[in-house]
């Protein structure tokens, strides 16, 4: 950990990565998005607040990389009817905070407010507010996602469709 805390350059690099990730999702470039995850990466949408433990608590999504690859393939198969026609999304990533900069093999941790607007034909636009946290591995190719956790603000809500990626 940098004893002086995150620098403007750290924040700038993290923000650039998070905006890139958001742009891939909004563009529907799911094959490119999933490759942002490390081989041991996890995409996690908990179903409860507090300190959820995936071994004991059900999640909305708890995908390791192999499951995430299957999910992305299914969503694009043309036979996932909850995504036929597919969602259109636009999302805001804001209040980005670099929680720890790590160094060497130690991951960077960041958080942001994430608001996803989603619509499909014949449905009204959903607004999905969340607080997201990322653990980012430093690699020769830049950041990769070791873990992305999306904590939905409305966990008691009776969602009709959360099959798109947050």
């Amino acid at each position: 950990m940098n004893p002086n805390g995150p620098t403007a350059a750290d924040r700038s690099a993290v923000e650039a990565f998070l905006y890139h990730e958001a742009a891939l999702l909004d563009a529907g470039a799911l094959d490119d998005w999933v490759e942002l995850f490390t081989d041991d990466g996890v995409y996690w949408v908990p179903a409860r607040t507090g300190a959820p433990d995936p071994a004991r608590h059900v999640s909305i999504v708890y995908d390791d990389k192999p499951r995430l690859l299957v999910r992305v393939a299914r969503l694009q198969s043309g036979k996932e009817y909850a995504q036929e026609p597919p969602s259109r999304t636009c999302r805001q990533v804001s209040n980005v905070a670099v929680l720890s900069t790590g160094e060497g093999d130690v991951d960077v941790e960041a958080s942001a407010v994430l608001v996803v607007y989603e619509t499909r034909p014949n449905t009204t636009t959903q607004t999905i507010p969340a607080r997201a946290t990322w653990r980012l591995a430093r690699t020769d190719d830049g950041f990769r996602v070791r873990r992305k956790q999306v904590m939905l603000l409305e966990l008691g809500r009776y969602y009709e469709n959360l099959t798109f990626l947050l």
Binding site: P52, R74, Y159, E160, L162
Partner: protein, 428 residues
């Protein structure tokens, strides 16, 4: 089929003409008058699942739910009795409890401060000198309670009718499958609520989910993207036209999809091969004997059956699914994935991952169903086509040893079972 207008003219208060053993009329899904009658005649009378005792182990524990649209509190009082209380202050009608679950000795209405013990009794009205004894007796203002409460294997049901069939009579053949569901736990105890819950809803009638949870005809179409791995696995064989699986009308509106004839010992081998699985099996053998231990693992080690308990409870894979009717065209659903008390952490974690893979609002299966319900409700706006046929497998029925009507897993015996009971309740 008789024109509905004719029948309605002669039978103003009846709705049973909307179904037969061959079809359901569109008005059953779109008419607000039908929906209102369902709330009174079905949810207002029959045994409705409200909680599981594992959520209510200690005095003071409570959960909230609904019987139809009526909000209820299920609470265990200091004397360890269970109470199903109407969540409605006896003064100005405000709900007195806002949480889905918790622990409380009292429920205080925030509006004017009336405070009720968790057995429903009112302590006293606030600023009590304003009430004259001639007009007001405190014992008359307890929270209203469901007149009948009973439980089977920890599943707590309530009936808003003071008299009627017992819970055991109501459950009938469904008990066999509730037993199988629970017996997979080493000591026979499932944990409900400890793992949390999933919630989803859709802009469609509640009966669409009731039908669908025991519909073996749709999976290979709606869920092909999930089931078909392109390598010819077992999943696409569970619900095809040649499957060995069975569908059953269990009587009293309850119904079953049974994939065990197709699965054979697949789940048993997989379960016992998992970390902790063999030790789990041996605990089951100690409690149940080898034959029953194998049976429960073959059945619920994975997804061996789907059970519908009329009107709105389903047991599927590891989940308890409760269907809440909100409006004629709006439905909300709670899924409670169960943990097995005394099972290894790996076993329970694997159950949760398997559940998440298919169920919940981001699962690989359930959202496809919701999309179909939305499309059905949209299509039901067509008025010139009035009936939805339930003819599949009508003439290939076997009689089971307990009076079950059994057909092929893709047949519509479950839907006919549901609507026969529906019509009985809706007749008046």
């Amino acid at each position: 089929m008789v024109a509905t207008d004719e029948l309605r003219a002669s039978n103003v208060a009846r709705f049973d003409h909307l179904v037969s053993d061959r079809a359901v009329h569109r008005e059953a899904y779109v008419d607000p008058a039908v929906f209102d009658a369902e709330l009174k005649r079905i949810f207002g009378r029959v045994w409705v699942y409200v909680a599981h005792e594992s959520q209510l182990r200690q005095p003071g524990d409570f959960v909230t739910s609904w019987i139809g649209r009526q909000p209820v509190i299920v609470a265990r009082s200091a004397d360890r009795r269970l109470h199903v209380l109407m969540n409605r202050c006896t003064h100005r009608a405000a709900t007195v409890c806002q949480e889905r679950a918790g622990t409380a000795s009292h429920f205080r209405c925030a509006y004017h401060g009336w405070t009720f013990r968790n057995d429903g009794t009112l302590i006293s009205p606030t600023f009590g000198s304003g009430y004259d004894a001639e007009d007001f007796r405190v014992e008359d203002y307890s929270l209203a309670a469901a007149p009948r409460v009973d439980a089977y294997r920890g599943f707590v049901f309530a009936s808003l009718a003071p008299a009627g069939p017992t819970l055991a009579e109501h459950l009938g053949n469904a008990r066999t499958y509730i037993d199988l569901f629970c017996d997979l736990a080493p000591a026979g105890d499932i944990e409900v609520g400890a793992a949390g819950s999933n919630h989803y809803g859709y802009a469609g009638n509640w009966k669409l989910q009731a039908e669908n949870g025991v519909d073996g005809y749709h999976p290979n179409f709606v869920h092909q993207a999930f089931l078909d791995n392109g390598r010819g696995g077992l999943a696409m064989q569970l619900f095809n036209g040649e499957s060995a699986g069975r569908a059953a009308d269990l009587g009293r509106g309850h119904a079953l999809l049974d994939s065990r004839p197709t699965l054979g010992d697949v789940h048993e081998r997989a379960f016992r091969g998992n970390p902790g699985g063999q030790a789990h099996y041996e605990l089951l053998v100690d409690r149940l004997g080898a034959e029953r231990a194998a049976e429960v693992i073959r059945t619920n080690g994975g997804q061996g059956f789907n059970l519908l308990v009329f009107p709105n409870l389903q047991l599927i894979q590891i989940q308890i699914r409760v269907i809440h009717p909100r409006r004629v065209d709006l439905t909300e659903i709670d899924l409670y994935p169960t943990l097995l008390a005394g099972a290894s952490e790996q076993t329970n974690a694997a159950r949760l991952r398997s559940h998440e893979g298919f169920y919940g609002p981001a699962g690989g299966g359930a959202p496809g169903d919701l999309e179909m319900f939305r499309r059905v409700q949209e299509g039901l706006a067509v008025e010139s086509v009035e009936w939805l046929p339930l003819l599949r497998g009508l003439r290939r029925t076997e009689l089971g040893p307990n009076g079950e009507l059994i057909g092929h897993v893709t047949d519509e015996h479950p839907q006919r079972a549901f609507y026969r009971r529906w019509a009985e309740e809706m007749a008046g």
